[in-house]
Symmetry: C2
Subunit: 426 residues, 2 copies
């Protein structure tokens, strides 16, 4: 059994409103947290980060790996122009194995050096490229659910599956390959059924994907209620549905037996919200993306305080950064604008709540698979970030809570070390 | 005459909608831009930044130097709690010369290494500390207008001037000292009359400050129409005024003969807007601060496109960062939320417009004092930022416009070099 300890100032959030601060030694045993001690434990090696803030690793519930290559560009375009001019052409390049290797190489390199230890990730339509991404993530020591995208309508001919049958056959080939490689239900990197969103997947395709999710017992992810015109479009495409979420739930892709992450959920009405809660759908709140693509501001404070399951997503490249510290700050900021312009009944999110969302909140998705994630508690995965905030000094001294807040807002700190499932990545 | 050239990819904005990109050599002669050449000019030393993006130096029209020490903390507090718990206690420390020297030391060090080359800065109530700040800025080679704060009401006893007469006497002593030190109207660092905001300055004090501004021929700065409750408060404090701006204009502190910067202007009504335009009041748009303190979103696109004078402000420490690249991105982002939630008649700001605001827009304030700022044109001040975006590479190649956008959004670039008035700061 591999055992070591890390020394530093451990900060985590046992509840959304509790910032717990403990200065001392955290034991790591076979990838999981052991006991916390104020004194050095005997007989184990120690990584000494005395005086540095250490948080749990962050969970990114929603991002598009192939879009990372143009992250932070073309933010002035309208969403549809952005998809046509950037997204679809770029994603289509991943048909080329060399391009996929290089592109995902950049992505995995930067994700490894980011605050993220776990993620739910969209790939492209291509089975082999998606496997390439999974292999690279696994080699890097990260945990992820990864999706081969499904899309058989409403995109250009050069980037669309030719039929539902063709898409489903590729999805099955992908899942079978994952099984052959012992990563269908095992190990840190696993597959996730991923229709892009309802307008991109015909009823027949969506039905087949729901059946595959049930057959292979794998989770699912997609987009939900991101903007008003999208909701109207889905209503027109799916006669008989009362709300957008039904376009997934009628095919078994909306939580319940198939654990599901839905990104955005900005304009979810009462019935949709009730269904998300009942089905334990995981909400991926993506504030940076929601600003950039002019979607709006999700009621994240309502979700968090009202018993929904919710975490954060960078939504790269609608979101402009992989850095979930920046996403935490944005979550607080847009919740303030929501308070000002949309709904004064819900107080803005606090930084402690934002940390909870980035750790315990997103980490809840892994509980559906028997893993405890997001806290420094015995039995929880030892995912940890050691923060170097030495460049952020001023003439004042700061509490650990203030140091964490400055690290998130100022954006100029760096990680001194990062652990994922007890493995030191750097 | 000192002459040199800089080689690189020069990007600037001759109009708000024009991103001009030129790869070659910019001549600098005695602190000002000379001709642009595609080939190396003979007989002058060259700083070779081939392949790097070079923008004009940025103008920060509004920030509070003594608040920099707690920048990025306490963003969860309500504005009044934030002022009482952080701002007033911190600013009051600047009565101590050692504290002022150390605190402004950190501020000037970080401002020097930021994208800012020129700024309009609030100090504290203390004359000597304000002079200390001016000396340090001058030594660092930056250009700034700096204000000794005026405040004789509505703040705690430990941080308030005892009477209008006392405050005015100190203001006069400060201006006389500036004159003695040849920095009243000369040199890069000059004084600016600075009542904190109307609720902080009695009528008698404000009247005296207006008289001093006229007598000494110095500009002025303050806050305007930042949030609805403040506007109600000002209306109650100033019977007979039809709008907030009148609380300044009736004392000669609202543009016209006294060039004036007003921060925020989020809720300015028609009459106030008309007066700002007529008086050529400079608007400091502070999107990061406006989010953080839950103020709202100023109609910056309307101001820019409608003929108002407007630039950007970090508003540290309501704003959480000195980095005007981050403020540029935030200006674009909040303008999108404004479009979504407040007013769909005005399209969101573009990144080109944001660069214009950070350079030419804010630079217009210096035109009132005979200086041309914000472009790479002959005769303009040679203020320049050389961007190191090598960490932001991906497998794609990017246009200069895309590189600039990524630099602003990703927040992980650095400056390779910085020039202010032709002096290389690093």
């Amino acid at each position: 059994m591999e055992r070591f300890a890390v020394k530093g100032i451990f900060v985590d959030t046992p509840t959304p409103n509790t910032l717990r601060v403990r200065d001392g030694y955290m034991l790591c045993e076979d990838g999981r947290c052991g006991a916390f001690r104020e004194a050095a434990p005997a007989g184990v090696p120690v990584y000494d980060h005395s005086g540095q803030i250490i948080t749990p690793g962050f969970v990114d519930l929603h991002l598009h790996a192939p879009q990372y290559s143009y992250c932070g560009t073309a933010m002035d375009l309208e969403l549809l122009d952005w998809l046509q001019q950037y997204t679809y052409p770029e994603e289509s390049h991943y048909a080329d194995a060399d391009y996929a290797r290089a592109g995902y190489g950049y992505f995995v390199r930067d994700l490894t050096h980011s605050a993220t230890t776990r993620a739910c990730i969209f790939g492209t339509l291509h089975t082999d490229a998606t496997l390439e991404l999974m292999h690279q993530l696994k080699a890097a020591g990260l945990s992820a659910f990864v999706g081969k995208l499904g899309m058989d309508r409403n995109s250009p001919d050069f980037y669309r599956e030719s039929s539902p049958a063709a898409g489903l056959a590729e999805t099955r080939r992908w899942l079978d390959t994952c099984a052959d490689e012992h990563m269908l239900h095992d190990g840190p990197v696993r597959p996730m059924i991923t229709p892009r969103f309802t307008p991109s997947a015909s009823d027949e395709y969506m039905k087949g994907l729901g059946e595959l999710a049930a057959e292979y017992k794998v989770p699912a992810q997609s987009h939900l209620s991101e903007n008003p015109s999208e909701i109207e479009w889905v209503a027109a495409l799916c006669p008989g549905t009362k709300y957008y979420g039904e376009s997934y739930s009628r095919y078994g892709l909306f939580g319940g037996d198939v654990p599901t992450v839905m990104a955005h959920c900005i304009y979810s009405g009462e019935e949709e919200c009730a269904a998300m809660k009942a089905n334990r759908v995981m909400i991926a709140h993506c504030p940076t993306s929601n600003e950039n693509v002019i979607a709006g501001i999700a009621p994240a404070a309502k979700y968090l305080r009202g018993g929904w399951r919710i975490g954060l997503g960078s939504d790269v490249a609608g979101g402009h950064t992989l850095d979930l510290f920046a996403v935490m700050a944005a979550a607080v900021q847009v919740s303030k604008l929501r308070w000002r312009y949309v709904d004064q009944s819900e107080a803005p999110l606090t930084m402690t709540e934002a940390l909870y969302l980035a750790t315990v909140g997103g980490g809840e998705f892994w509980q559906d698979f028997g893993e405890q994630v997001g806290l420094f508690e015995p039995g929880y995965a030892f995912d940890a970030l050691v923060l170097d905030d030495s460049h952020l000094r001023s003439l004042r001294s700061f509490t650990p809570a203030e140091r964490l807040e400055r690290y998130a807002y100022l954006g100029k700190g760096a990680l001194s070390a990062k652990f994922a499932q007890g493995k030191k990545l750097f």
